[in-house]
Subunit: 354 residues, 2 copies
């Protein structure tokens, strides 16, 4: 049907190898012949070597996979994920590499299959909740990968780019504690695989499902432990998804009790903005004021006046892709910790006297 390399070779009267060389190794044949071959190819409507066949023979594809938590279409609604992708795409561009976005079906068997079937040379794994299974598949395929969330059994030779989640979380929590807050709620997405929205009880931070969540909650707890507030005294609230709506739904009713929290520490800016939405909607208005903090410092955080922790999102993506695309010789250089910064804005203030 469509012409193949062989068809072009026959038309010109040369061997298949020579036509292949005309495309892939121009120095291996005379310019005249090369022109003749390319002309014939144009005549025949030959679109150049079939990428799949070429990949098979060459042993590499020329594209990297990007793996996302949950639904791929959600990732595009998450400003932090988008900035991460921006970083990845910049690096990919520079390397002339394509990016394959692989949607993961809900069932894990299917999801494994999706990772097994992705035609890529390696993966950037963006925080797949409970990502171990994905890393297992990738390792089994013998493909390189860079992870962005520290998982618990990371080997010394695993490439990684991230932040010190715990220390970063601690810094913002210490700021809130320093303002005098003692009745505090912690809000996170998918604390446990099947927890409902709203307050949940965990015997300790280690029970949290997602490694990133574990790190951040631990940091929050650290800061409050230091001022004498134990884990049991903190209210942990679960959101069904990392969205403003989910956050607003999760904290509905949280402030209606007799001793409501005076501050909410959210695991992401998106969640924090949802808390602000919920507070703004409240019949009582925002009085007494509730301090709210986020995490990430997405663009919207600035205009909302949200106190948060800044982490370099695009940088994270860029470095992830670069660690993948040209790995440092030194294994230690493959584990990158990025700086974070506490950004204090109007959403936090002293505890109101009651």
């Amino acid at each position: 049907m469509k012409p193949t390399l062989q068809a072009v070779a026959d038309a010109v009267g040369v061997s298949r190898s020579t036509v292949s060389n005309a495309y892939s190794r121009p120095d291996q044949l005379s310019t005249a012949l090369r022109e003749r071959i390319l002309d014939a190819a144009r005549q025949l409507g030959y679109p150049g070597p079939n990428p799949t066949a070429r990949s098979l023979r060459r042993g590499f594809v020329g594209s990297i996979g990007v793996l996302f938590t949950s639904q791929l279409s959600y990732a595009f609604t998450d400003p932090f994920a988008i900035r991460f992708l921006t970083g990845v795409s910049g690096a990919a561009e520079r390397h002339g590499t394509s990016m394959l976005l692989v949607p993961l079906p809900p069932a894990q068997t299917d999801a494994r299959r999706a990772v097994e079937n992705a035609a890529v040379d390696g993966f950037c794994v963006y925080c797949v909740a409970d990502e171990e299974w994905a890393l297992d598949v990738i390792r089994a395929r013998g493909l390189p990968y860079v992870s962005t969330a520290s998982h618990d059994d990371a080997g010394a030779d695993e490439r990684f780019v991230g932040i010190d989640e715990r220390a970063a979380a601690r810094s913002v929590a210490a700021h809130v504690a320093g303002l005098g807050h003692r009745r505090v709620a912690l809000l996170a997405d998918a604390v446990l695989p099947d927890a409902p929205a709203g307050p949940v009880t965990l015997s300790g931070v280690h029970e949290a499902w997602h490694p990133t969540t574990r790190g951040r909650l631990a940091g929050f707890a650290d800061a409050f432990a230091e001022v004498g507030v134990g884990w049991a005294e903190l209210t942990l609230v679960n959101a069904l998804g990392n969205s403003r709506q989910a956050a607003a739904a999760a904290v509905a009713g949280l402030f209606d009790g007799p001793a409501p929290p005076t501050a909410v520490l959210a695991g992401s800016d998106v969640l924090a903005l949802g808390v602000l939405d919920a507070l703004a909607q409240r019949p009582g208005g925002t009085n007494p004021p509730v301090s709210v903090t986020g995490f990430d410092d997405i663009p919207e955080a600035a205009s909302a006046g949200l106190t948060t922790v800044r982490q370099p999102a695009e940088e994270k993506g860029r470095i992830a892709a670069e660690l993948l695309l040209d790995p440092p010789a030194d294994a230690a250089a493959g584990q990158v910790l990025l700086p974070t910064a506490l950004v204090v804005r109007a959403s936090t203030g002293p505890v109101p006297r009651s």
Copy 2:
């Protein structure tokens, strides 16, 4: 090195075909044998059929390409493009298909090569400026595609999803004309391939480079022609890129003359926001006020109070992907025009009396 299908076959003592069937056609062999094969595979660390080899033999890849104007990393900074991608990803997800984002190198020869080498089953072409060459390559490869910008020689059988650019542009321009504006500037990105930033002169709309720009400018011109303002009386301003910064730079000095425009019609919301930025920065402030309109109705437009034309961005992506992934039997159903709506906000008002 890594085990192949053959290795598993040898280990179990069956034929290669049978192992293949164990993965791809479970109904072709007994459950017992299948289990035995999958176990052996696990033992050997065989990660399942090589995706590239499988694609070669099967004749399809299981992923669709998305082609973007200009740099891929810019696309991620464009809110409209992101919403488009969101739509595409939703559809891809539902079909179990991956998305390949292909960065296009600046040189056209290289860009052609990139499109030729993409291992995909089809393309969603998002408004590649001067996209004909890309469509040529795709057609030569015999791959299906869906375009989002109407190009001039679209055949009746070409799949397409878009809006009536001209009518949509006309509606917002008519609104501005109705407010009495007669000294008007039109702002667009990349009006000509090599035009500098700032005012440019075109003998007519048809000279504009980008088909989408042509459509929108034509609509603007239509509305003003109707109130007696000819093309030559409109100021056309070129921006070097679709960004707030580029727009702000493009209109620098535009309002300093003796008879400055009282309205600026921008070809996109991002450009319009840039104009608002520039106006806000002006020493004179926003007095007299300048009416500004955008195009697309991205989320930021609402908070900026920008008058604009809404087009369903996510829908556009979703439909593009769906036209590609399961094409309608009826060719006419492959050409979709989406509705648009004029959204009037605070950024437009009557001409100030001078």
